[in-house]
Amino acid sequence: MENLHVVIGLEMHCELKSNSKVFSDGRNAYSDTANINVSPVDMAFPGILPVVNKYCVEEAIKMASILHCQIPDVMIFDRKNYYYPDLPKGYQITQCSKPVGINGYLEYDSGNKIKRAIIHDIHLEEDSASLDHLNNTSIIDYNRAGVPLLEVVTEPCFNCAKDAVSFLENMIKIYQYTNISDADTKRGQVRCDVNVSLANEKGEYVTPRSETKNVNSLGNIFATINYEEKRQREAYFNHSEELVQETRRFDEDTQTTIRMRTKVDAIDYKYFIEPNIPPFKIEKEMVDKIVNDIPELPLSRKQRYLNEYKLTEEDANTLIKNKDLSDYYDECIKIGIDKQIASNWVTVNILGELNKSNISIKDFYITPNYLKQITDNILNNNISSKQAKEIFAKSILENKEPNTYIKDNTQLSDESYLRDLIVSIINNNLAQKEAYLNGKTNLFDYFVGQVMKETKGKANPVITKKLLRDLLNK
């Protein structure tokens, strides 16, 4: 039997985070109240015109440069014309003739192996309204209409579902690290069109491509690819159906895909350049400034953790799961905590604590500087690791910095300090000293007690006793 493999291309849509929409000043925010974040532009009232949001353009340029894309000298937009009740203008403003980025690539991590995805283009466009379905009718909420979307189109460069999903996971992380998007799949902020076909060993396509539209979670994308691979294999080998180039949709209930239309009925979107948006020159200084603002990305951090810091793959993966955690860890290293020790604390104790109390690292009481108080004292043998954990817990519980407790727990061994203290204690207890020297030897313990009381129990007992013997007998 012929050896076939699956070939996957992705079109990933991600909602941008911004104050206002991409072509209007309607508020870009999710709301349970319908039509509360809407401008007349979003509902396409007669006479409205689009006005491009500068911030969205900058974020699009940022993502284009992260994807190593060529960025054009001018920004222009196109209309994609089709009728659908969630598209009030009857066209979507998008980028077709000159996308904000073309011909890029992204190195991503799939099962701890570095792979490269080839990016066809990335473009900035607007989202549609959302439809909710009642018994016999649908209702339209325009809050989402005009929300900025970035669409990243890959070449058919993935050869298994796992790679495709890993790529998406990496992309989501990048969106979050750069704060371009929350990229929250649960809130529908990431949606994918999944293109699947089969190729033989020579890399020749043997089945026509199917495009499954608007799949909305990584699990469903995984299922879509696997189902399409299976369906096309069966059709190819068993002739169970005639394969044609077509558009399908994913059915969550059955975990299968269902035909929407074939190429014959394909919509001609009649793209043309949006005449209401004049070309906007993308100056090199603007791009440079944007590129400058890009934080170190997760994959680069992971490689640093592995190669320079010699952390384990597992710890590195844990640390880069979110940017705040990784930033926290990096701050620990910056202020001088040992790389391995910091990693242990962050991945075990701190993450455990965060999970338990369900708070984010940003709101966590123990800052890297506080953590250093603990780790330094372990290194100095001032506290044991058992004590360290207690101090850590107590510090969080009482919202007091670890040093408060560390002073209580560590021994006072400074001889000159103790000597001065003891001299003053003796001078204040001359009667007891007299009695001791006269044979009431159990008063020695009384003096030890006084020292402990003054030092809150921290005085080194050995040194204290030695000094007491010397000084009392003087």
């Binding site: 039509n35 974040n37 007349p40 500068k54 089709y82 659908y84 016999n136 009718t137 004049p278």
Partner: protein
């Protein structure tokens, strides 16, 4: 003979969500023929294929400033829905939309 046939006209009209009478259909064809002839003249202009398309009202139109990312105030819901005929609560209501309605 027109490149544009009666059947094509009807199919385009359908995709534009408009119905055409027979008479209207025939008029499209004759109006189109005028355009088609003029385009033949255009194609005799030397070097026409190398001319950059003019997509905006002013040639070489360009802007330097884009809109700052500030959200405005949403109009009152009663204004937004004032002209809609079928509504329920804060939303417009249409017959149930099923998957394949995109045209």
């Amino acid at each position: 003979m027109s490149k544009f046939t009666k059947e094509m006209v009807d199919s385009y009209a359908e995709k534009l969500l408009i119905g055409l009478t027979e008479e209207e259909n025939a008029m499209v064809l004759s109006e189109f023929d005028v355009i088609d002839k003029d385009i033949d003249i255009v194609n005799t202009i030397e070097g026409i294929e190398n001319v950059e398309v003019m997509t905006h009202a002013l040639d070489n139109m360009q802007i330097k400033e884009l809109r700052e990312d500030i959200a405005g105030v949403t109009p009152d819901i009663s204004d937004l829905l004032f002209n809609a005929k079928n509504k329920i609560g804060r939303e417009i209501e249409v017959p149930k939309v099923v998957g394949n309605d995109e045209v």
